[in-house]
Symmetry: D2
Subunit: 92 residues, 4 copies
């Protein structure tokens, strides 16, 4: 099932700046065959929903392995049955 997703990952306890973690999240997403659009409040992702959810799980596991103590993800998921959801199709 194809989906468009917005993902924002927030690490707690690593200080005021979270830039390194955000860059790591985008690098991990880039290992998949997704269309990605990074913006000021997260990264928009187009791809297979199952793959995207696997990627989110892998991101949490990886950031914990690399020292992250507490991780929050804010995720918006959209699927539809009348047509294939795309990031391009959501442009105004």
């Amino acid at each position: 099932m194809q989906a468009t997703v917005e993902l924002q990952v927030i690490p707690l306890g690593t200080g005021v700046s979270v830039r390194q973690e955000v860059k790591r999240v985008v690098a991990l997403l880039n290992e998949y065959d997704f269309i990605l659009q990074t913006h000021a409040s997260g990264t928009n992702i187009e791809g297979d929903l199952s793959d995207i959810l696997s990627a989110i799980e892998k991101i949490h596991a990886t950031l914990h392995d690399e020292g992250g103590v507490r991780l929050l993800s804010y995720v918006k998921i959209e699927t539809r049955s009348d047509k294939i959801p795309t990031l391009e199709g959501k442009k105004l």
Copy 2:
């Protein structure tokens, strides 16, 4: 990896009331071995992250199979490595 998650599923195009779909979401979550706390803005879930993400995918697939045309999910995911995250532990 254990997680606490908030899930709110919004169906578009089914009218102003979304109560039937919300009840269906909770029924589908109840098929899993999760701790659930339903509230006015979603359902809080405690369980294995992989299982919770599978449940979210199954919810989208099932609601589409049952006629839902467009589905939005708003998800907050929390994991931590210093202790097991629980809904009980997040009480003030």
Copy 3:
């Protein structure tokens, strides 16, 4: 305009635990004439939308005054014109 709102405030840079800040947020909300329901992923609020948005602004200002460097709020707002939205009315 009456509204139901979910508010979750996340301070960055204060360490892994954010319990003190969350308690402060709820204390500040209690200064208003709102109906409040605190849960594991935020606080549900019923009240006048203008008052609730004022409260959110005051919370950011107060937490910064008290030393918070970076604050993120995640807010869900619901209003409707066919009836008065209430937290009670959103029970399943």
Copy 4:
């Protein structure tokens, strides 16, 4: 207090497509002196927090006046005291 905000407004009960309402939201935001970046999951806003919250209230009021029955807004708010938050500054 300067802020960066993400706003996504979802009308319920108007059908599967919400494009007209989303365009209306962006038009209303354009009446303010904000920096705006529209993307697939909402609009990022840079401006005075008080003005942004006023705009959100006005958007709900206007969309209801124009026939919207039920409106959900998903809002991420960020403020910081160590520097002025900007959309530009959040680029990776």
